[in-house]
């Protein structure tokens, strides 16, 4: 069964450093998402991406964050200058575009990348 994959599984970085989290969505999916979950808290939406551009972003997704689909398979989240409060689990998800243009379909999540900022 196809699945979303994420690398690395755990990333440790120093405050102020740049990190890139990588995701490979399910191959026939066209909508991509990033969510984060601070330890012990609920999962929060960061950004959605379709047709090579951001379709929606939350207030969390400020100028320190960016997303990119550099090739036909990868989807990345970059944090330019990490802060202590960026420590969290980051989940990538993807969904299939339904006929008729609606993107509302089940989102399948990757296993997550645990980011620790020291």
């Amino acid at each position: 069964e196809p699945e979303v994959t994420q690398t690395p599984s755990h990333q440790v970085t120093q405050m102020g450093q740049e990190v890139i989290l990588r995701c490979v969505p399910i191959s026939n999916h066209l909508y991509f998402y990033w969510y984060r979950q601070i330890l012990g808290q609920k999962v929060e939406f960061l950004v959605s991406f379709y047709n090579n551009e951001i379709s929606e972003k939350s207030e969390i997704f400020d100028d320190q964050f960016s997303v990119e689909r550099p090739d036909g398979s990868n989807f990345t989240l970059k944090i330019r200058s990490t802060k202590l409060e960026d420590s969290a689990m980051y989940f990538c998800a993807s969904s299939f575009r339904l006929a008729g243009g609606s993107s509302t379909d089940t989102q399948y999540f990757g296993p997550g990348t645990r980011l620790t900022v020291l």
């Binding site: 909508y31 998402y33 609920k42 999962v43 959605s48 939350s58 993107s103 089940t106």
Partner: protein
């Protein structure tokens, strides 16, 4: 903005028994989707079940079923014949029709007692 509320931070059930997890939501929309996701200790998010708001019939997936009450804005998950592998955090989530983002509740931690 839509909100999702899970009022039970923790629940426990004896193995082989049935348990129901509660979820309520607030929306002014008529078309939307509701989901239950399971997050085991590995922290991966796994889809359990999905419900379209326009469908009156409650969704079922093997031992998992929902009680969807649209007027009451309630979406509970029933797990029958609970198994040790069901132990996890369960999140209720909402998605508007045509809008991609999921709004999650705070989760319910389910413990299975052998």
């Amino acid at each position: 903005a839509q909100t999702v509320t899970q009022s039970q931070p923790e629940m426990s059930v004896q193995e082989a028994e049935t348990v129901t997890l509660s979820c309520t939501y607030d929306t002014s929309e008529s078309d939307y989707y509701l989901f239950w996701y399971k997050q085991p200790p590995s922290r991966q998010m796994i889809l359990v079940i999905r419900q379209e708001a326009y469908k009156q019939q409650n969704a079922t997936e093997n031992r998992f079923s929902v009680n969807f009450q649209k007027a009451a804005k309630s979406f509970s998950l029933k797990i029958s014949d609970s198994q040790l592998g069901d132990a996890a955090m369960y999140f209720c989530a909402y998605s508007s029709f045509g809008n991609e983002k999921l709004t999650f509740g705070t989760g319910t931690r389910l413990t299975i007692i052998p």
